[in-house]
Chain length 235, copies 2
C-alpha cells in the first residue's frame, strides 16, 4: 500500500472537495458575523438573510457528504487520503452546526426586535460583539489550518478556546446582574444568554475542526486531550 | 460491485462495531438518566459518577472511530456496508455529544448543590424530569432503530421531536415567570434553563441518529427534510 495517489484525477477530486469545505466555511463564518451585526444594528432584514442562507449551507453539507461516499467507494483510499476524507466528513458536520448557531442568533434577533431591547442591555450587546470576534477569528484560523494542513495554526485554535469560554462566563454573570437589578430585562436577557451560548459553541466547532486537521496530518486523534498533550502530539 | 460480503470475517467486524455503538448508546442513555436523577435527588455523588463516566464514553468514541478507519482501509466496502460505516461514524459523534449533555447537567447539579436550590424551583425540576423522560425514550427508540435497521422506528423518533421542543419552550417560559416573581431565584433558574436545553439537545441527537438509520437502509440523506418528506422516503 502506497501513500501516493494512483491518478491526478484523484488528486483533483481531493482538492476539489477541500475547496468546497473552505467555501462552506467562508459562508458560515459570514453568517455568524452577519447575525451578530443584525443584533448590534437591530436589523431584521439582515437576520432574515442569515436564515435564508441556512438552507444553502445544509444543501452544501449533504452534497459534500454524498461526494465523499462516492470517492471512498470508487477510489478506496488508504492512509492519509482516507484520513483526509474522514476529516472532511467531520469538518462539514461542524460547519453545518456553525450555520445552525448563526440561525439561532438570527432568530433571537427577531424575538428581540419584536419585544424591544431594554436600553440598559445595549452594553452586553457590545460584549457579545467582542465574544463573536474571538469566535470568528478562531473559526477563520481553523479554516486556514485546514486549507494548509497546518498543525501549528490548529494548535493555536485549541490554545485560545479558553478565552472564548471565559468571555461567555463573564457575560453570563453580567446578564444575571442585569436581570436581578431590573426584572423587566429578564426575558430579553435570556435571549442574550442564548446568543452568548451560540457564539461560545462556534468556538467549540472551530476547536473540533482544528482537531480534525491534526488527525489528518499526524494520524493522531487528539479529541479529549489536554492542550499540553496535543502540543506533544504535533511536535 | 456486489452488495454481498466477501467474508464472514467482515460480517463479524460489522456486527461487532454495531454492538459497540449500541453499548456506547446504552451508556450515554444511562448517564442522562443518572444526571437528571442527581438533580431530582440533589445527589452530588451521583453527579460525580456521571462526570467520571464521561472519560469512558470519550474513549469509546475514539476507539470505534479508529476501528472504522481500519475497516474502511482494509475492506474497501461499497454500497450498504460503506453507508453503515459512515452512519456509525456519525452515530458515535452524536452519542458522544449526548454524553456531553449529561456532563453539562451533572455540572449544573454541582452548582445548584453549592448555591442551594430555592424551594420554589422544586416544581420546574419535576417538569425537567418529564422532559428528560421524553428525550431518553427518543434516544432509546433511535438506538433500537439502529440495532434492527428499522426505518419505521426511526421515523417515529423524527415525529416525536416536536414534543420535546414544545416541552422545552414551556419550561423556559415557566422559569422566566419564576425569575420575574422572585429575582433571588434568577441564578438557579438560569442553571435550570441550561439543563432544560441540554435535555432538548439529547432529543436532537436522537433525531440525528434516526436520520442515520434511514440513510443506511434507504441510501437517502433525509437531514433537513420535513417529516412528511421523510415519510415518503421510507415508504
Amino acid at each position: 500500500m502506497s501513500d501516493k495517489h494512483l491518478s491526478t484525477q484523484f488528486d483533483n477530486e481531493l482538492s476539489g472537495i477541500s475547496s468546497r469545505v473552505l467555501e462552506m466555511g467562508g459562508l458560515v463564518e459570514a453568517q455568524v458575523a452577519q447575525a451578530v451585526q443584525a443584533l448590534a444594528a437591530f436589523d431584521g432584514e439582515l437576520a432574515a438573510q442569515v436564515l435564508r442562507e441556512e438552507e444553502r449551507v445544509n444543501q452544501m453539507e449533504v452534497e459534500i457528504d454524498r461526494d465523499l461516499s462516492t470517492i471512498i467507494a470508487r477510489r478506496q483510499p488508504t492512509a492519509r487520503d482516507l484520513r483526509l476524507l474522514i476529516a472532511v466528513s467531520k469538518a462539514i458536520a461542524n460547519l453545518e452546526r456553525v450555520g445552525d448557531e448563526a440561525a439561532r442568533i438570527a432568530r433571537a434577533v427577531d424575538k428581540l426586535i419584536a419585544s424591544g431591547l431594554p436600553s440598559r442591555l445595549r452594553l452586553p450587546v457590545g460584549d457579545l460583539r467582542f465574544e463573536s470576534e474571538l469566535a470568528i477569528a478562531s473559526l477563520r484560523r481553523a479554516l486556514d489550518a485546514f486549507a494548509r494542513l497546518d498543525t501549528q495554526q490548529a494548535l493555536e485554535v485549541l490554545k485560545h478556546d479558553d478565552q472564548i469560554d471565559a468571555e461567555f462566563d463573564g457575560l453570563l454573570r453580567k446578564l444575571v446582574t442585569y436581570m436581578m437589578e431590573d426584572p423587566r430585562t429578564i426575558s430579553s436577557s435570556i435571549d442574550l444568554v442564548f446568543v452568548a451560548k451560540a457564539i461560545e459553541r462556534v468556538g467549540d466547532h472551530a476547536k473540533n475542526l482544528a482537531e480534525a486537521v491534526i488527525y489528518v496530518v499526524k494520524g493522531t486523534d487528539v479529541r479529549h486531550h489536554t492542550v499540553q498533550a496535543v502540543e506533544d502530539a504535533v511536535k
